[in-house]
Amino acid sequence: MRTTFLLACVAVLSVGCEKKKPAEADGKSGAVKQPVVEVKPAEAKPADEVLLLGEVGSLTGSEAAFGISTRDGIAMAIDEANEAGGVKGKKLAVRVYDDQSKPEEAASAVTRLITQDKVLVVLGEVASSNSLAMAPKAQEAKVPMISPSSTNPKVTEVGDYIFRVCFIDPFQGSVMAKYAHEELKFKDVAILTDKKSAYSEGLTEVFQRKFAELGGKVVAVESYAKGDTDFRAQLTNIKKLKPQGLYVPGYYQDVAVIAEQAKELGLKVTMMGGDGWDSAKLFELGGSAVDGSYVSNHYSADDPTPRVQEFIKKYQARYKTTPDSLAALGYDAARVAIEAMKRAPELTGPAIRDQIAATKDFPGVAGTITLDEKRNPVKPAVVLKVEAGAFKYVATVAP
């Protein structure tokens, strides 16, 4: 509650600043609404000739880095489509609302996109909890929604209008289990899981089952709670058991401290994790302690596939930085939506939905996308290794 209040104050302040710059009509009344950023096509057309897509993202708040990358990826896809002639002779535009990394804001933003802006397709969110807040609204209004990177299986289970372009958690867990057993040849592995996070618990469960199925042994499952910074007791326990690997399916902030303390206690294991590790912050907080670890992820900038390298080149030219997974998935999500709009006989929710559902062998940057009957893509994951403060591509693991 109190977080909500304080963040609301911040939002009001920030909108205040933002609105001064562009001379937009709703400047004053917009003070209590979410900050709005509109990416317009290069040559602005009257509103009725533009096909409007909606996006909800975390442009501020704890996951701001995720939301900003996604928005950049989507903006690039939209501009490319416009350069190529748009859809059905019309230009595309995307309206972006900030949800401040909070589910309740995400729900109200998506409602606004649907009822007020009458968008054809909704893109978003990154965090599964935010996507889960948005999905029922989109489903009810029969507006197709594509989440670029929410990996929790429940998101697309909301209804037949909800899609995603990333793999789901169970797959990610089994990829790492398979890699640990077959490539790294680990026999004994310990797990340290965040018992407060559905993401972490989900990955732990799958990894544990899959690794045992393959003939490995999970020697210990220790846990912590988000907010802990002392993991020495758990690590001392794990050290006694002498595992070769330690699976830590948490977020980068905790992982960094765990790696550091493991090193301090003289625990010699190879750490493994999931896409929750994907942040430059990991290296800043964890230093050299995270070197030599392996993570499963959606995409790698080192992937030599031509279409990936072409995407990276264009992205770097535009934003002066290397795209992360979230930018790649945002780009893919927007392109899946645009392709479906091109194929749809008419631009209505149900017609576009049917075409998104029919997406097959789509050449996405983060893997080829074929959506299954549960509206989840069947696509490979990459395994990355941490070397000297950066992720290095090592393998692609097919489903």
Binding site: S69, A233, G266
Partner: protein, 340 residues
């Protein structure tokens, strides 16, 4: 077995001494004011941020010298003492004659103001201007080395790495024949322990051997009578807050040296544990706070060692309930009949 035990003991004492330093602040303020100062943990957090800024301004070399470490501790403690004074002067003193609940709610308010205020991203002005996201990206997700050139000293929601001011070195390493168990004792663990004990001894001397300590005890006993006897109650209470806040800052720096991470909500977490420790020991009692903190540290460690790590917090707080069931005033507390 013995080696494992020793390693777990080292872990437990390292955690316990930090809880103890924070718990002392809770207990002292409660002693003189009968107020649970919920902002105490957040004052500790502010101390860590001050230490962080000082360490960065000094640079890596200077900060890890003896004088540098001393400067980090002293500046943080000084700033927190001033902060403690300000909180007491402007938030609690006007409410002193009001019902206790009023002050308690104010304490919670101060706590949230500090911990959430520190999450406001003050660099956000530039970031928000960016429609394309280019500028925002440079602030948020460029891989930034730990050099001081791209570190902002302003607080923000994201966790930071506390600079290494005491380089980690092994002072003792014992392992058994087949190397299944070993004990490591690191230099900073010993130093932290010594600093913590030093601070506690200094406090003990101050409270029981000085005039100010005598005044403090008198106020704690009965502040109205103390006032009648000519003891400057306001000054004593302000002094108590400053002392407690300075100790919290010291504890915060030790905590940051241990776990290397700084973030605005750390105070709430450590503060809660320390508060539990103070209550276990008998709130208002200095020795009790230290004993309670060490017990809590041991209890947490033992749960993970013998049982399951998922139960750590549950057992720690369960322990509090058990203690309170059998000794409602805490382990060292005395039951005082409330005069009505």
């Amino acid at each position: 077995m013995l080696l494992d035990l020793s390693q777990h003991l080292i872990n437990a004492v390292a955690a316990g001494t930090i809880y103890a330093l924070v718990a002392l602040g809770y207990t002292m303020v409660y002693g003189v004011l009968k107020l649970i100062n919920f902002a105490h943990g957040d004052v500790m957090m502010v101390g860590v941020y001050v230490g962080y800024a000082v360490a960065f301004l000094l640079g890596r070399e200077a900060a890890s010298s003896l004088l540098g470490v001393l400067a980090v501790f002293l500046v943080a403690m000084l700033v927190c003492a001033v902060l403690g004074f300000l909180i007491e002067r402007f938030a609690y003193r006007p409410l002193r004659e009001k019902p206790r609940l009023t002050a308690l709610i104010t304490a919670i308010g101060i706590s949230f103001t500090i911990s959430y205020g520190f999450q406001l991203d003050l660099t956000v002005g530039q970031a928000r201007d960016a429609v394309t996201g280019v500028e925002a990206r440079q602030l948020s997700s460029t891989p930034c080395a730990t050099g001081s050139d791209c570190v902002t000293l302003l607080p923000g929601a994201a966790a930071r790495r506390f600079p290494t001011i005491i380089e980690s070195r092994e002072w003792l390493k014992v392992s058994n024949a087949d190397e299944t168990s070993e004990v490591r004792l690191l230099n900073w663990q010993v130093l932290s322990f010594l600093i913590a004990v030093g601070l506690m001894v200094a406090l003990q001397v101050l409270v029981y051997r000085t005039k100010f300590g005598k005044a403090m005890r008198a106020v704690s006993h009965d502040h109205r009578t103390a006032a009648l006897l000519g003891i400057p109650v306001d000054t004593v209470i302000a002094g108590t807050f400053m002392l407690g806040s300075a100790l919290a800052a010291g504890a915060g720096i030790l905590y940051a040296i241990k776990d290397k991470q700084v973030q605005p909500l750390m105070g709430m977490y450590v503060g809660l544990k320390a508060f539990v420790a103070a209550v276990i020991g008998g709130i208002g009692n200095l020795q009790g706070a230290v004993a309670g903190a060490l017990l809590l540290g041991l209890c947490e460690e033992a749960v993970v060692w013998f049982g399951s790590s998922s139960w750590r917090d549950a057992v720690a707080f369960g322990f509090l309930i058990v203690v309170l069931l059998f000794r409602p005033a805490g382990l060292f507390g005395r039951v005082v009949a409330e005069k009505v």
